[in-house]
C-alpha cells in the first residue's frame, strides 16, 4: 500500500476487519424440489412456461416475461448438454471454486432453453469449443447447492 503521504500520516492506522456472518437462505419451494432431485436422484429439473414455451433452469416460480406461475410445470432435463460460452479464469480469488486456471462455461442442457454456468474439466483450455458436448459429473458428497454437480466434462 502506498504510504507515501508525508509526515501527517506516519502513524496512521489501516485497521484489519472482516465481515463474516452466517446466513440461512430459504431455497423456495421450487428451488427445494430442484435441489432435492439433484442431490437424491441425480436428476436435473427445469420448468416450462406454457405461454412462451421457454424451459428455465435453474427453475423459478414465475416467468419473467409472461408472469405465468411455473411452480408445477416440471420438465426433466438431460444430464448432457452443449457449451454455449466460456472463459478461462486465470486469477485466483477466495470465492472461486477452483485454483486458476480453470474453465468457467455456460452449458445449455438437453431440453432447456437457458444455460447454466459451471466448471468444465477434463479438457485443456485451448481445446474448449462452443458447441462441445458435455455431461454432468455429480458430486460424491451432498452440498445442497448447484455444486451437487461437481463439474461438467466432455462426452467422449
Amino acid at each position: 500500500m502506498n504510504q507515501d503521504k508525508g509526515e501527517k500520516y506516519k502513524d496512521a492506522y489501516v485497521v484489519d476487519g472482516k465481515l463474516a456472518l452466517p446466513y440461512q437462505y430459504f431455497a423456495g419451494t421450487v428451488g427445494s424440489k430442484f435441489l432435492i432431485a439433484l442431490r437424491d436422484k441425480r436428476e436435473i429439473l427445469g420448468v416450462r412456461c406454457d405461454t412462451c414455451g421457454k424451459v428455465y433452469v435453474p427453475p423459478r416460480q414465475v416467468c419473467e416475461k409472461d408472469f405465468e406461475d411455473l411452480g408445477d410445470k416440471w420438465v426433466m432435463l438431460g444430464n448432457t448438454g452443449v457449451v454455449t460460452n466460456f472463459t478461462i479464469v486465470h486469477k485466483d480469488d477466495k470465492h472461486r471454486p477452483r485454483k486458476a486456471p480453470y474453465i468457467l462455461a455456460m452449458i445449455k442442457l438437453d431440453g432447456a432453453d437457458t444455460a447454466i454456468p459451471h466448471v468444465l474439466e477434463m479438457v485443456q483450455p485451448e481445446n474448449v469449443e462452443i458447441g462441445m458436448e458435455v455431461k454432468a459429473v455429480f458430486s460424491s458428497e451432498p452440498t445442497n447447492t448447484i455444486l451437487d454437480i461437481d463439474h461438467f466434462e466432455p462426452v467422449l
Binding site: 472463459t87 470465492h95 468457467l104 447447492t145 455444486l147
Partner: protein, 390 residues
Amino acid sequence: MSAKRAAICAVAQLPFEKAIWHKRIQEMCFDVVEPVLEQTGVKFCKKPGDGGIRSIVTVSDDVFDARTISNNAIQDAVGAHNRGEDKVAMDGINAIAYAVSCILSGHDDLILLVGHCKESQAESRNMCTNLAFDPFYLRPLGLDFETLNALQARDYMAKSGVTDEHLAKVVVRSRRNAAKNPVANARDEVTMEEVMNSPMAYDPLRELHIYPQSDGAIAMLIAGEDRVKEFTGKPVWVSGFGNCMDSYFPGDKDLASNFPLKKAAKLAYRMAGVTDPAKEFDFAELNDAAAYQLPMWAEGVGLCADGAGGEWIDGGGMEKMNVNPSGGMLAGNPIMLGGLARAAELVIQLRGDAGERQVAGARRGVANGTTGAAGQLQSVLVLENDRAGR
C-alpha cells in the same frame, strides 16, 4: 411549485486513486461537498424556506462500505443532519434522475448529490461483486462482475467483429485521454504491444482490458430552473433520462443483445427530443468497465450501427464521435460511480471547463451507467448547455 426543468449547477470529484487509504469515507464525501459549496455559494438550510439545501441524495453500497445502511454513517459529512436524505444503491447516474424527479415533482427545488465508493477496503472487489449473485446456483461457481463481463465479451466480440487488437486500441486511447484528465486514476500511457502482451485475466479479457481498482467520490448541486441563476452562469440541463433492466440469471439472456441499453437510450432520447444520436451529440461518455464495452455501448446508444463495433473502431469512430474524452471508466472509477463519473465529465465539458481535453463547442452529450454485471441495468442520461438552443 414544481420546476419545468432542472440543471446541474456544480460538480466536484475527488481524484480517483487505486487506494485512498488515508481518507475515511466521511472525509472523501466532505472533500467533494466543500468545493460544491464554494463554487456556488449555496448554504445548508437552517430553517424552512431560507433557500438552503434541505434534501440530500447519496450513492453508496453496503458491501463495499462493509456496513449496512451505509448512508447513515456519512450524514454529518454530507450535511444531512436534521435534513432529508435518500440513498441510491445503484450506479450514481440513477441518483441524478432521482434528484431531478424530486425537483420536477415539486418535492424540493435544490438537491445536493454525493456519491462515494472505496473499492480498496475489501481484500478483493470481485469477492464483493460475487455477493450480487444468487446463493444456490451462481455464487458457488465464483461468478463475479469480471468473469461475467468476460462471457459477455466473448459473445459480443464474435457478433460485432471486435478483436484483441481493437480492445488494445480502446485501452491505448483511454490512457492517452486520461493523461489530460487530472482526476483520472490510470493515467500512464501504454502501447498496443503492452496491452496485447498483458496477461490473460479471463479469456478473452486481459488484465489491461479491465478498469483498475479505484476509490473516489463525486458531488453535484442540482437545482430547479427558477433557482439556477443563484448558483451558476453555466447551467447544464438534464434533458433526458431512461433506464432498462435485463434478466438476472446470465444463462437466461443473449449477453450480446444490448436491448436494455437500446431501450434506455430510446426513452432518454424521446424525453430529450433526440432523433439522430450519431449527429446530435457532440460527444459521449460510455461506462466501459472493460474495453469491449466501449464499442458495445456505442452500438447501444446509437453512435455506431448494430453489430459494427469493430469496423467503427477501425473507421476512427471513437475520435469522430469524441467518445470518452475523460478516459472513460477504463481509466478508473469505482463501480458505484462509473456512470456518475461519466455524467460529471459531461458537465465539465458542457461548462467549457475541461482544459486541454475540451471538446470544442460542446453543446449536448450522452452518458450511460451500468448497475450489475454485463450491463444488467442500463441507464442513459442526456445533458446539454444553453448553446444547445432550447
